[in-house]
Amino acid sequence: MSDTSVAVETHESEQEHLALRHHFVTVEQQRNSSHLAMWLFLATEVMFFGGMFCAYLIYRIWFYAEFAAGSRSLDITLGTINTAVLICSSLTVALGVRAAQMGKRKLLVVLLLLTLVLGLAFLGIKGVEWYAKYTEHHIPGSTFNVSDLVQDYPTLHIDPRHEQIFFSLYFAMTGMHAIHMIVGVGLFLYLTYKAWKGTYGPEYYTPIEIGGLYWHFVDIIWIYLFPLLYLIDRKPLH
């Protein structure tokens, strides 16, 4: 009776004691500092992606026809599926934080693994899409050739030079997003490992929380990238 409860107590306070770093006065101060730090970092990420959104905004105004044509050449099915994949991964992350909060180690590990699988699925689908762009010669550079788009959309009066700007932005934005996903996958591999070892519990699950915040943010970037890149103009052409 009291043996096990004492053992649990000791483990918890050990956990708490181990987790508290020397320059903090309380665990709460530490947790609040980590949270604020992650939110501030996400604010910097908003500005980081923001520079590309600014370039996108200007050129979409200038070269709407080319942006519309380039958008149509993207696979809307794969884009929609990928959006759904990330949304599912945000669910698994959020449920994972809850599992950590409730001390359910096995559930936490399963949810983190699911998140990883979904994240890798996203990257895989992205790879498929990029490969399609490669075969269609839509990658900017010496092999760039959009005569197919010029042919398919004669009413749009596409200038191939401007089309190259659309695809430059497409690859820059989805590429930067993908890099952030890869970092997220690496981060979650680490969190999964630590979770499996029992590092996280009701007293200390801050890394899961702030890792989750990062993952949700990368999801939100995609939530905007999807309509801005894939859904510019899908109206039926007369």
Partner: protein, 545 residues
């Protein structure tokens, strides 16, 4: 001077310098004070390099003909002078050295909120610096520190990618420093230390950090886009594809204008600490000074296109940015009025830090006012891209920021090292810096007004006299900068032992020993007094060596 040879209890006591030994204890430290010193050594190193390029520039400009270096080399000299001085000296200088060292103590904490991130930030700086050095050794960059496209993306044959990546990495160092400071000020204040009791240095560092956090990422992505365009031909700025070179300039200056406030706000914070101390008076208009720091940080983001007035932006846009540029001068002026009012009827002493503060106020005012000249569209058309602009920003960056940095180093040197620098040499160096600085840069206002363009390696003969004056000034300035390096080092061994509070200054950092113990305080600070309570603090005895 002979007293220092005697065994001294203060320096024998365990402090952050002697608590652990060995190179690992320094290179793997998470102690904010040691990291500050790591930064101090690194930025001084880069200051030498940037200064060396400046001397070569001034040597070339002694004569109207281009006879010292090739024109291509000259392009590289001014480019790298700018990049090194801005990104590897000025931006980190006060935040990473004085900010790192002092902020935890000023808020009564044992360390910054994120000590490991602090160490990572130094390593990022070092990696960025190493990449930059490598790019320089391989032949450097000739795009100007501004990397304008399409020259940087399509035409330059120099190491743009490497320099761009170096600055990108150093930018992350900057972001992490800012992050640490904001979290520390929000979360680590000692009991009783409300926002309105914070030292004004902390307020200005907080404002600086907000700029670092919100502005630097835009520079980062812009550099990434330049690197991608050069390497993978993702032609976003390429005019042959219909791209807009001005888009680069908008994105670049969105950071680089606020960056100048990153460089000046910390110095303003230093001045706000020095003037009350050496006037033995509380800061006049505490709220005005504190809020004007925030005001500068916010307004500083609204004015960037004043660097682009003649680049091809629309006239309407230029009018908007011109008006906003006038606005941003207001909070700076508020500070100058408040510093002056602080000194009024104060008990002024002219120790070295105060000399630098005086120099700052005068030179920053000149620099700031000439900024207003530039903000006027009609004048800017004539003096943009001339030496007038160069003089303007050097008055602020060197006459302002560097003077503030030196003043701060002298003011807090006793706290950092436990020793006093020699006061005579301190005053002499300050005077030499002031004279050298004005001789170097005032002629440049005239040169610019008369029409000498910037970044030109040769010039019409009628400009020679002013150029010679400027070069002469630069050698004097160099002497003025070398002196403190020499006597600071000297003081480590032979300087008078400082004691906890040689200046009789207000602030928590003076309520612990010099040098401080590793965890800053031997007790838990609780603050029950207002900031700058000089009416309660006795004036120090003479500390002249």
């Amino acid at each position: 001077m002979a007293t220092a040879a005697a065994v001294n209890v203060d320096t024998e006591r365990e402090n952050y310098l002697n608590s652990t030994y060995g190179i690992r204890s320094w290179l793997l430290t998470t102690d904010h004070k040691r990291i500050a010193l790591l930064y101090l050594v690194s930025i001084t190193f880069f200051f030498f390099i940037g200064g060396f390029f400046a001397l070569l520039i001034r040597l070339e400009l002694l004569t109207p003909a281009g006879d010292l270096v090739l024109s291509d080399t000259y392009n590289k000299l001014f480019s790298m002078h700018g990049q090194i001085m801005v990104f590897f000296f000025l931006v980190p200088s006060i935040p990473a050295v004085l900010g790192n060292f002092l902020i935890p103590m000023m808020v009564g904490a044992k360390d910054l909120a994120l000590p490991r991130i602090n160490l990572i930030s130094w390593y990022l700086y070092i990696i960025g610096g190493a990449l930059m050095l490598h790019a320089m050794v391989l032949g450097g960059v000739d795009t100007g520190w501004t990397f304008y496209t399409p020259f940087s993306t399509s035409f330059s044959n120099t190491h743009v990618i490497e320099a761009g990546l170096a600055i990108f990495i150093a930018g992350f160092s900057s972001i992490l420093t800012g992050l640490n400071i904001v979290v520390t000020v929000h979360r680590m204040r000692a009991p009783g230390l409300t926002w309105s009791r914070l030292p004004l240095f902390v307020w200005s560092m907080y404002a600086t950090s907000v700029i670092m956090l919100l502005g630097t990422p835009v520079l980062a992505i812009t550099l990434v886009l330049v690197v991608l365009e050069r390497s993978l031909h993702l032609g976003i700025f390429d005019p042959t594809l219909g791209g807009d070179p001005l888009l680069f300039q908008h994105l670049f200056w969105f950071y680089s204008h606020p960056a100048v406030y990153i460089m000046i706000l910390p110095s303003m914070g230093v001045v706000s600490e020095i003037i009350p101390c050496f006037s033995r008076k509380r800061a006049f208009g505490y709220s005005a000074i504190a809020l004007s720091s925030i005001g500068i940080a916010v307004l500083g983001f609204l004015v960037w296109a004043h660097h682009m007035f003649v680049a091809g932006i629309s006239l309407y846009s230029a009018l908007v940015f011109s008006l906003l540029s006038y606005l941003v001068a207001v909070p700076s002026a508020i500070k100058v009025f408040n510093w002056t009012a602080t000194m009024y009827k104060g008990s002024i002493s002219f120790d070295t830090p105060m000399l630098y503060a005086f120099g700052f106020i005068g030179l920053f005012t000149i620099g700031g006012l000439t900024g207003l000249f530039l903000a006027a569209l009609g004048i800017d058309v004539h003096v943009t891209d001339t030496y007038f602009v160069i003089a303007h920003f050097h008055y602020i960056m060197v006459g302002g920021a560097v003077m503030g940095y030196l003043g701060g180093m002298h003011f807090w040197w006793p706290k950092i090292s436990g020793r006093m620098y020699p006061e005579f040499w301190g005053k002499l160096a300050a005077l030499i810096v002031f004279i050298g600085f004005n001789l170097t840069f005032f002629p440049q206002f005239i040169l610019g007004y008369l029409g000498m363009p910037r970044r030109y390696w040769q010039y019409p003969p009628e400009f020679q006299v002013l150029n010679v004056l400027s070069t002469a000034g630069s050698t004097i300035l160099a002497v003025g900068y070398l002196l403190p390096m020499a006597y600071f080092l000297w003081s480590l061994r032979y300087g008078k032992v400082a004691g906890d509070n040689p200046w009789g200054a207000a602030g928590l950092e003076w309520k612990t020993s010099s040098p401080p113990p590793t965890f800053n305080f031997d007790y838990e600070p609780v603050v029950t007094w207002e900031a700058y309570n000089y009416h309660e603090i006795p004036a120090p005895e003479e500390v002249n060596a």
